[in-house]
Every structure is written in C-alpha cells, then in structure tokens.
C-alpha cells in the first residue's frame, strides 16, 4: 500500500507543469482601449512584471512537488494550494485592472482559460484521490466563487465580460429565465409524453417499431432545419386558429423552439424509460405476482421504483442536451442565453458570446450534478 501511494501522481504532475509553461508563454490577458478595437494580447510577465509572474508559479510547482510523493497529507496540502490558486486568479486580475485606464477593457487570454481548466481538473483528481464526498467537493468551490464575486464587485470593472453583463444585467436575468422556462417545459412535457409512449410501447410491438422509427428519424434532422420546417405549418396554424395566435404561437419565437426541443427530447426519454422498465429482473416481477400483488401494485411498487434510476438518467441526458439546443433556438427568436451568442457573433464581440456561452455551460454542469446526485441517492435503496 505504502509502495503504491509513494508512486508519483502523474495526472497532477502533468497538469501543473503544463500550467506553468502556459502561464509563462501564452497570453494571459488582452487589453483593448474600447469595445470596437481588438485587444492587444499580453503575457503574464508583461502585465504585472516577472516578479509576480514567477511568484504565481510557486504554488503550481508546489503542487507538482507534493504530487511526487502523494501521501494523504501531501494531497490535502495540494488541495489547499489548488483552491488557493483558483481564488488568487481574480486577485491577480484585479491587480492588472488597477493599472489600466478607465475606458479600457480587459479580456481573459488563452493562458488564463487554460489554467482555469487545468486547475479544475486538478481539483477533480484530488477530490477523487482523497475520496471526498460530493457536498464537500462543492463546498471547496465556495471560497473560489466568493473571491471572484468580491473582486468583480470591487475591482474588476474593466473586465470585458463583466462590462457586457453590466450593460445587459436585466436582459441577462430575463434570458436565463427564458432559457430555463423553455428547457423546463419542453423536458417536462417530454417526460410526461415519453413515459406514456414507453408504456404504450411495452404493450404493443407495433407501437414500439413505429414509435422508435419516427423518434430516430426526428433525431437525425439538424436542429436549424427542424426550426425551418416548423415555420410554415405553425405560421399557417396561427393564422387559422385564433386562440393559438392569442397564446403567442407563430412561425418564429418560442412555439417552434419548444416543439423542436420536445421532439429531440423524446427519443432519449422514451428509450431510457422503455429500457428501464423492460430490464427489471423478471424473477422479481414473477415473485411480486406470485405473492399476490395486483398488476397495479407490481407496477407502482416494484417495476417503477426499480426503473427510476435509469429513467432519471434519461431525464439528465435530455435536460443537458436541451440546455445546449435551446441556445440555437435564439436564432428563431425564442430568446434565452443563445441571444447573446448570436448578437456577439454578429458584432464580432467575443466577450458577448462568452456572456451567453459560459452560463449555458454552467447551467448544464449544475443540472448534471444535481440529477446525478439524485440518482445516487435513489440507488442507495440497495439496487446496486
């Protein structure tokens, strides 16, 4: 055991060494005098001088050294260092911001993005090695988020991403709301419909063949094409049926987006639900019937609870997929965070694109983590 533990942790070593090289060679930031002019990239040592730049490599080299002999307390120390690094990044940026003129805009360079990525990977690796619980893992991110938040409020006004946000803070909150409403309602409807379809498919082989055929076909249509295809029929419907028009249904906007999301969500939902219900151990069902449970009782007390973790897996995949797809729906005026992405692309303002893209990634990760935790909790019932 001791032998195995004293072998160097290659993952951490590589992450940290790549980090040091990236920090010293890639541009850490870009500074632009205003929004229109593209920024000039600067390396870390050019921004705040060699002293600070080299100082920042110390904790990274420290983690690498600790990883050479990964005893438990070494790894704990490394964990503290990595969290410290993540929390120190906004402080360093604040230092840079202090040297800039009032109107300039500060952008994150490739070095910083890469470092964020590497350090988060290091955090995941350490969490796994130290076998930390899920809540504790999240708790580790708290000081990091706190540091970012304080710096943003106090000193990071020139950060381009933050400027884009400030101009649109109301719109931003609204966009997140729209995004979540679209995803939530579409996945919710897909769940209801999907469960009904899966149940019908279990009853009849005919429904199963046709159903999976159609759903598979739907999945192969590119999303933009599907939006286009829905345009004409919906516009026609809205012009004929008054109450639909009153609801806000039209060829563009939320209606085609919602329908397309529903269509794409159905396949993973139906497939998972169907497989989950189908794959419950036949011996258990046989026993349940043999004990004198009615069909209803067998389904509600045995088949459904045993299938639930897999159904939940379907909900997770569907939701994460829908969060990404909804970004595209902004193209047809459905709103949501995709709006910023397409606006940003149109104006060649990459920071505006990020303002849309980053929350989408964050949302997807959060939903993923939440539903995974829920599935784990359900599985504790002893099925694994």
């Amino acid at each position: 055991m001791q032998q195995a533990r004293s072998k160097p942790n290659a993952v951490l070593l590589v992450l940290m060494l790549v980090g040091v090289v990236a920090w010293l060679t890639l541009p850490a930031i870009s500074v632009a005098p205003n929004r229109i002019v593209p920024g000039t990239p600067q390396r870390a040592q050019e921004a705040l001088g060699w002293g600070v730049a080299l100082l920042a490599t110390v904790p990274m080299l420290g983690v690498a050294t600790l990883a050479w002999r990964p005893f438990t307390w070494h790894l704990r120390a490394a964990l503290v260092l990595v969290v410290g690094l993540l929390a120190a990044m906004p402080l360093w940026l604040s230092g840079v911001a202090a040297t800039l003129e009032a109107a300039s805009r500060l952008g994150l360079g490739s070095a910083l993005w890469l470092l964020l990525f590497l350090w988060l990977l290091a955090l995941i690796e350490l969490r796994a090695r130290l076998a930390l619980s899920r809540p504790l893992g999240w708790a580790l991110l708290l000081p990091v988020l706190l540091a970012w938040w304080v710096c943003l409020m106090q000193w990071l006004a020139p950060l381009a991403l933050y400027r884009e946000y400030q101009v649109r803070s109301d719109q931003f909150v609204g966009a997140i709301g729209q995004h979540l409403a679209l995803v939530g309602s579409a996945v919710g409807a897909a769940l209801l419909l999907g469960v009904c379809l899966a149940l019908a498919m279990r009853r009849r082989a005919g429904v199963r063949r046709v159903g999976f055929g159609i759903l598979n076909f739907l999945q192969t249509i590119p999303s933009i094409a599907l939006f286009g295809l829905l345009l004409a029929p919906l516009a026609w419907l809205a012009s004929r049926v008054e109450w639909l028009a009153a609801l806000g249904v039209s060829g563009i906007g939320w209606a085609p987006a919602w329908l397309a999301l529903l269509g794409y969500s159905l396949l993973p939902m139906v497939r998972n639900t169907f497989v989950a219900l189908e794959e419950v151990d036949p011996a258990v069902i046989e026993a349940a019937r043999g004990m004198g449970m009615s069909q209803r009782q067998v389904f509600l007390q045995v088949r459904l609870p045993l299938a639930l973790p897999v159904v939940l897996e379907g909900i997770r995949i569907t939701t994460v997929q829908a969060i990404g797809l909804t970004a595209v729906a902004a193209l047809i005026g459905a709103g949501g965070l995709g709006t910023f992405i397409f606006q940003g692309l149109g104006q060649a303002a990459m920071d505006l694109v990020l303002l849309g893209a980053l929350p989408i990634i964050a949302l997807a990760l959060m939903v993923d983590a939440l539903l995974s935790a829920l599935a784990d909790w359900l599985r504790q019932g002893g099925t694994t």
Binding site: D281, A283, V284, E286, A287, A288, R289, G290, M291, G292, M293, S294, Q297, V302, P305, L306, G381, G382, T383, T384
Partner: protein, 312 residues
C-alpha cells in the same frame, strides 16, 4: 388439500403438461422431480394461476382455483422461487412483511409477524431487519424468501427449485431446516426440483415427471424398490439406488442392543443415515460399529449384516 384432475397445459401446439392427476394431502410434502422441460414448474405455477391451465381442473380444498380471484388466491399460497425474487429496493423486514401488508394487517401485527418469522428462520432481527437483499449471502437470502412466503401463514407453500442456486453445504443445511419447519408447521407443500437426492431427502410423496406426464408417484422407498420402468430406475440412481435407500434409513432402525461381545472400536451416531454408517465401515475396514447417543454413550451395535438387512 390440492387436487389436480386431468390437468393439461398447451402453449400453442406444444403440450407442456399432459392430463396429469395428482392429490396432495393436507400436511404432505410432495416433491415433483424430473429433467428440465418435463412440465414440473408449469404444474406448480398452474396451482397459483401464474399460468392458467388449458384443460382439466385444479381444486384447493375441493374448490376449483378458477373460482377464486387470482390475487386473493396467491395471497393465500406461499411461493418461493430459485433466485429468491426478493425486492432489491426493500429491506429484509419489508420484504418479509409484504403479504401481510397486502392483506392490510394492522401495522403492529405485521411487525410482530415479521419478528416471529425472522426468529423462526434464524435471522437475528438486529442484524438483518434493515439489510438490503444484496447484502445477504445466498443462503440468507433464500431464508428471507421462505420467511416471506410464510408471512401470512398460508396453508399451502409452493417451492420452485428454491435451493437450486445454492452451494451443496448451504443447500443441505436449508433442506434440514425445511424439514424441521415442516415438522412444526405442517404445511401442504409442493416442491419442485431436478435434484433426486434433494427429492428423496424431503419427500413424503415423490412424483416423477417426464414429458408432461406423471410416470410414477408414491413414497420414496416404494419408488426405490419398485420403479415402474427403466426411466424411473435411472432417475433414482440406477445401480446406486442401494445407497439412496440407505440414505433414507437411520442407524436407529437397524441397530441391536449391546450384546455380550466386546465393544467395537469405531463408533457411529444413532441418528446418521445408513449410507454414512456403511461409509464408516468401508473407511475403517471393519464390519461392526458401536452405536452411541448424542452424549457419546454406547447404546447399541450395528453389524454389516444388520446394515444390509439380510434376514439370516
């Protein structure tokens, strides 16, 4: 009492069970034995209507099973299957309490019954009540399966190869436990197995099946002595039948009281079956054993001549 009158089961063209008739008396342990696909499991499952019979009639205590509501019927019949069929998402206690809860017993009574059964099957409550099935060994899980089947105190118990997936030692232990239970509870049991040793050890009445028909039925000794045809004879072990029979007789039944002769050196317990006594003689190369009781006190002797039962 379970009665089958000319019961037939067809799956499409194929006849799985062909006009069999059988009567299992109250308190009897009836074992259906045969090669796989002989229709023994199908027969069992027709009794609690997991499979509906095509022709003939099945009666419980004189009443056709078709006249019962199938769910009510099954709640009155205990059912144990090979892979336990325990609900993996329920604790042991909840699994055992299933049928009483289905029958809407008051909560306190269910708990009391579960505790009684766990004690009866040697499952300490503190240790097992809160465990999940995947935390149990095969033998423990099958004990829970038997406890669950007995929960609502049914008169009839159907057991479908319940010990088939267990290792030989655990299997034998559970067979003994089943016999002990049966001696106390006097259930009417139909037990399906393909293992003839198990069948001989358990059966009051042995039913040998082949291709959907009953070839022969009767007490195990009767079948051993008078198999109706070569199939039954070979099922019962062919030339090894002598040993199978010896396994059904105890030393107690053949021993003589202590005589004037010197005690034989090798000893045998009074309750072991004759095949073990024979094995001891072969092993020690002797033809006489001293029979001892539970406290290892000599109470008789057994000679090879008595063991083989020769009249001379």
């Amino acid at each position: 009492m379970i009665e089958l009158f000319d019961v037939t089961k067809r799956f499409g063209e194929e006849v799985a069970v062909d006009a069999i008739s059988l009567r299992v008396q109250k308190g009897e342990l009836c074992v259906l034995v045969g090669t796989s696909g002989c229709g023994k499991s199908t027969t069992l499952r027709m009794i609690n209507r997991l499979i509906e019979h095509s022709d003939g009639e099945i009666h419980l205590d004189g009443q056709p099973v078709r006249t019962f509501d199938e769910v009510t019927l099954r709640r009155r019949i205990g059912y144990v299957i090979q892979n336990t069929g325990l609900f993996p998402h329920w604790t042991v206690a909840r699994n055992i309490g299933l049928v009483p809860r289905l029958l809407k017993w008051p909560r306190a009574q269910v708990r009391e019954r579960v505790e009684t059964l766990m004690a009866l099957l040697g499952l300490p409550i503190e240790e097992f009540a809160a465990k999940y099935p995947h935390q149990l060994s095969g033998g423990q899980a099958q004990r829970v399966g038997v406890a669950r089947a007995l929960a609502a105190d049914p008169e009839i118990l159907l057991m479908d190869e319940p010990f088939g997936a267990l290792d030989p030692i655990t299997r034998e232990a559970l067979q003994h436990e089943l016999l002990d239970l049966q001696a106390r509870l006097h259930k009417t049991i139909v037990f399906v197995t393909h293992d003839m040793d198990e069948a001989l050890a358990l059966a009051d009445r042995l039913v040998v099946m082949r291709q959907g028909r009953i070839v022969q039925q009767g007490p195990p000794l009767e079948l051993l002595h008078e198999p109706v045809d070569d199939f039954v004879a070979s099922m019962l072990g062919g030339d090894a039948r002598g040993l199978k029979e010896a396994a059904l007789t105890r030393v107690r039944d053949r021993m003589l009281p202590l005589g004037p002769r010197l005690l034989a050196h090798e000893r045998v317990a009074v309750d072991v079956p004759l095949n073990q006594a024979l094995s001891l003689m072969l092993w020690h190369r002797v033809d006489r054993l001293t029979v001892v009781d539970d406290d290892d006190i000599p109470i008789g002797e057994l000679s090879l001549r008595r063991l083989v039962g020769s009249k001379a």
